[in-house]
Assembly symmetry: none
DNA sequence: GTCAAAACGAAATAAATATTCTGCTTTGCA
DNA sequence: TGCAAAGCAGAATATTTATTTCGTTTTGAC
């Protein structure tokens, strides 16, 4: 007699954003593919979605407009406009709390780590874009493209940068070798470097001696070195053919790796784009 | 001969809300009665006006819809929609400095990787500081401090973040175990996790299945999980006690790790500071 | 593999919202 | 007080935006 799936239908559809959000999270798994995408966008970027039209949301997500309506009905609303009303209400409330937050954080002399480190990272990224000569990137890419094999080395704090760079380069199809991070045997490894290769060395204070040693041996074989470091006068910078600086002002004694990571990404992607455009040209 | 009131016509109409606001204030006295009401409403309640329709604005102010159009043209716009676009931009981007916004909007698709990726990283860092609740960091630190041992897992793109976090935590004296990055045996490893431990899982698209498997096994033992990922609905986020979001808008298909790295640093340093202040208190 | 149910995409339609047009009213000046 | 210019309200129109419809494709159970 009675309808069986009462449990699926929210007796009351959500009225506030927190309710909506948890309702979406709860149902997410049971939604079909396209509606999952919609739900994810609403969860991840509610403030953007609040101001966009269905057409622009469709473009941003790659989901058809009609799916937004289907979604809205699946969650218990009459149409997407009702959802957007909730998002907009939430948006106009948010600004109060945000204003409070800025006031609060600017009041306390000692900023929380959250603000301190993000600001420090942003500063260092601005420095990066100002101080890196584009010609340097081109030169680096040229060297990498001509390499028989690309070796990457970096220890301790520099390890994340080195491994990320190696990961991306390998993804572009480059013959990449990444030196192992823990290294009593590091010295021995250097023997696998041969003529025609290129070494990418990442080193930040306090500079790892093992990295310096590998760089020394490499230059001894007349194999070019690309250095990613914090200063032109860093140990490995003296012997390198190309030096990229990713210095960062330290916040509370802890330097951020943000600019170094982004630099590694820039070099790798520039390499990838060069490879791709060459392939296109040949076609 | 020539038209006299050239001085009244803005050569360029305002593009940002602060510009609009001062333009309205400057002209206010010279406006006719109905348009004064419109100007006042836009100055007093810009965030409300951003979300209302002309019809509802008309009702709220007692001014006819057509007056809103006359107003818009008098101030140098083509229609009221242009003004509302400025108001909406202001609402959604109030936190971002206008200098940055200009940079972003002038960002053409063919910008060099250097500018593209640094700007994209800066944007994602701004998002990080806006969307991360300080309480979340506190909760994470508390969980980490109570842990018998801290396990860290992350594969592929997430590996740099995971290894960096583990490196910093170990530096603060935490009992840290980092899962090996290459993992046919990853599943077996999960057995070393025991009661009282905490797992920190880092996962970004495309999500690693191995990471997801370790998280599943861990939650099965009732061991809490801290997730560092890009979305609340990411696979590992569903089971995690605490979720940190470090999403980044991708530039040219390559997402930056900058915000994830900085987030890892913030959590680790917050942990370190908590440890340090405890030590001081005991003295 | 087959079939039925569900999901999907694209285009058509409906609804809403912004803008223009018209004639009437007020204002400012002689 | 008369007159021209500007301002205005209300209705008509154009445009944008949301929603529905329907034929096709995919999915899941058998």
């Amino acid at each position: 007699m009675t309808v069986l799936r009462e449990d699926l239908a929210d007796a009351p559809p959500p009225q506030t954003y927190p309710e909506l959000r948890s309702a979406l999270l709860a149902r997410y798994d049971a939604l079909p593919a396209q509606l999952k995408i919609v739900a994810q966008y609403l969860i991840d970027r509610p403030n953007d979605a609040a101001l966009m039209t269905i057409a622009s949301l469709s473009e941003a997500t790659g989901v058809q407009p009609s799916a937004f309506i289907r979604f809205s009905k699946a969650v218990g609303f009459k149409g997407f406009s009702e959802i957007q009303t909730i998002l907009r209400d939430n948006l106009s409330n948010r600004q109060v709390s945000y204003a409070e937050r800025v006031t609060r954080s600017s009041q306390s002399a000692s900023l929380a780590p959250l603000e301190r480190f993000t600001q420090s990272a942003i500063d260092s990224l601005n420095t990066l874009v100002e101080t890196t000569p584009p010609a340097n990137i081109d030169a680096g890419v040229k060297l990498l493209r001509g390499a028989r094999q690309i070796h990457v080395v970096g220890h301790r704090r520099s390890w994340p940068v080195a491994s990320y760079f190696a990961y991306m380069m390998a993804g572009f199809g480059a013959a990449t070798h990444l030196f192992s991070p823990t290294g009593p045997m590091a010295e021995a490894d250097a023997s696998i470097i041969g003529p025609g290769d290129v070494l990418v060395a990442v080193s930040f204070p306090r500079y790892s001696e093992e990295t310096a040693r590998i760089v020394e041996q490499t230059t001894g074989m007349k194999v070019p070195v690309i250095a990613i470091t914090n200063s032109r006068v860093a140990p490995i910078a003296r012997q390198a053919q190309i030096v990229f600086e990713a210095d960062q002002d330290e916040a509370a004694g802890f330097r951020s790796l943000a600019s170094a990571i982004v630099l590694a990404q820039i070099i790798a992607v520039s390499y990838g784009e060069a490879i791709a455009s060459e392939a296109t040209a040949k076609r």
